[in-house]
């Protein structure tokens, strides 16, 4: 098998981590290519859309560079696409971050600030939601293969996706309020947590993505 896996580089995130984790899990012949070139995304066999930082900047850059169109083209071409963190948020309808940003609309649902949330014991929860939290798998999906339900993954975010229709939910998490930890639709899977930083469970998910034939 000879395949190219494109990791979308829009000049902001720490792509090194995602790239290295994918390289570790890649099969023989799979090449990980970190690129900001829309044509390279169109030529790739699989696309990973990672992200950290602010969503407004992310949407601004991918729109200006034409990467938004290339990501949507990859989705339309039925290639396996994986969104991570801000990459997932950018695929929702809308985010309220920075006074409101229209996103790519691949998934229904909106991105909201955690705000003042309280834990089970009544204490105010810290934001960002930072650390290892459990993910309840709400669908049977090839990307969950070999990963125990309620496994812990590493999260770091202040905004989260809510009001996702049940048929697009793939995993649920809770931090004061329930939110989408993973969404799935046809050839697209997206996660709020960082699989590249989630030890064995995260690496397994990346490996599953690299072998996924939707």
């Amino acid at each position: 098998m000879t395949e190219t896996v494109a990791v979308v580089d829009y000049g902001m995130g720490n792509l090194h981590s995602a790239g290295k984790a994918l390289e570790k899990m890649a099969a023989d012949g799979q090449r990980i290519h970190i690129t900001g070139d829309p044509d390279a995304l169109r030529a790739a066999d699989r696309v990973v859309f990672p992200g950290v930082g602010a969503i407004r900047d992310c949407i601004k850059v991918i729109t200006e560079t034409g990467l938004d169109r290339a990501i949507l083209d990859a989705i339309d071409a039925h290639k396996p696409v994986l969104g991570i963190c801000v990459g997932m948020q950018a695929m929702m309808d809308h985010s309220e971050e920075n006074d409101g940003v229209d996103c790519l609309g691949v998934f229904a649902g909106r991105v909201r600030f955690f705000g003042e949330q309280y834990g089970e014991t009544g204490g105010r929860l810290k934001v960002p939601h930072m650390g290892w939290n459990q993910v309840r798998q709400t669908v049977d999906h090839p990307l969950w293969d070999g990963i125990d339900d309620n496994s812990r993954f590493y999260f770091v975010h202040s905004y989260c996706a809510v009001e996702v229709p049940e048929e697009e939910m793939a995993g649920r998490c809770e931090y004061g309020l329930p939110f989408a930890a993973a969404v799935a639709k046809h050839n697209v899977f997206a996660v709020q947590f960082h699989p590249e930083k989630s030890a064995d469970a995260g690496l397994r998910l990346l490996g599953n993505f690299l072998r996924w034939q939707p």
Binding site: P128, M130, K197
Partner: protein, 257 residues
């Protein structure tokens, strides 16, 4: 579903070597930070903190190389601190594979640096490290001041006010070290930890003074810390990460086991 509290082993690194030494069974060279981090990753550590205590400019390149090697073998979050002074320093570390950078003296020198860093890279990767020392007398109300330059330089700044200000400026996490307790093995300064944790809306990592596993529990339950950082109790094999996690879980703390 509850967020787990975190255990963070800390590596002090000088010119690419772990300085205080780490003793793992079956490792010949325990001074290589990449090897040490890899072992902690396997042992179930929740994050790694890499404190660069290198003084010379030349050795900073060694640090970046070390971070890069570490990031290709360690798949848990990595925080790098020590000598972070410019936006370019942050960019270099993030590009090398750090997930978060920790800022200390440079924040005191120019608080707007933290604001700029958080705007540029996002609060999630900006940690402000605070070295605090108690300055109040026996009969007074507790008061702590922050010190910079490895604890040598007093600033006259109140630690709790400073922590609040830094989170207002965009710090996404506070790494709090009690200078009174650091190296004593007498446990965290609980009043300080509680004071800071209650004052800020972001996670707080307690550091300085861990001598046994009950100290970790006290830091979380009494101090309100979201994460606990320790070096020597893990480095010298007194306790394993797994033992620490089991102990904390038995005390009713949510842990990633």
């Amino acid at each position: 579903m509850t967020l787990a509290k975190r255990i963070i082993p800390c590596l002090d690194v000088d010119a690419g070597r772990v300085v205080k030494g780490v003793r793992f069974v079956e490792i010949r060279d325990a001074g290589d930070p990449v090897e040490v981090a890899r072992r902690y990753n396997e042992a179930g550590a929740d994050e790694i903190t890499f404190l660069d205590i290198t003084a010379s400019h030349q050795d900073r390149d060694t640090t970046l190389e070390t971070v890069e090697r570490m990031a290709s073998q360690v798949f848990i979050p990595l925080t790098v601190g020590g000598g972070v002074r410019t936006i370019q320093d942050i960019r270099n570390l993030l590009n090398a594979g750090a997930d978060k950078v920790s800022i200390n003296s440079a924040a005191v020198k120019d608080p707007d640096f933290v604001r700029e860093a958080a705007q540029r890279f996002g609060s999630q990767c900006i940690v402000v490290a605070i070295d605090a020392k108690k300055v109040s007398g026996e009969s007074e109300n507790n008061r702590w001041e922050i010190f910079t330059h490895g604890g040598r330089k007093p600033t006259g700044i109140d630690a709790i006010e400073w922590a609040k200000r830094m989170t207002d400026y965009g710090a996404g996490e506070i790494l709090l070290t009690s200078m009174d307790r650091d190296g004593t093995k007498n446990g965290f300064d609980i009043a300080l930890t509680r004071g800071i944790s209650d004052a800020v809306p972001v996670p707080v990592i307690a550091s300085g003074g861990v001598g046994n596993l009950q100290h970790l529990v006290d830091g979380v339950i009494q101090g309100g810390a979201d994460a606990v950082l320790a070096a020597s109790i893990f480095h010298f094999g007194e306790y394993s990460i797994a033992e620490a996690k089991e102990y904390m879980a038995r005390a009713g703390i949510e842990m990633r086991l």
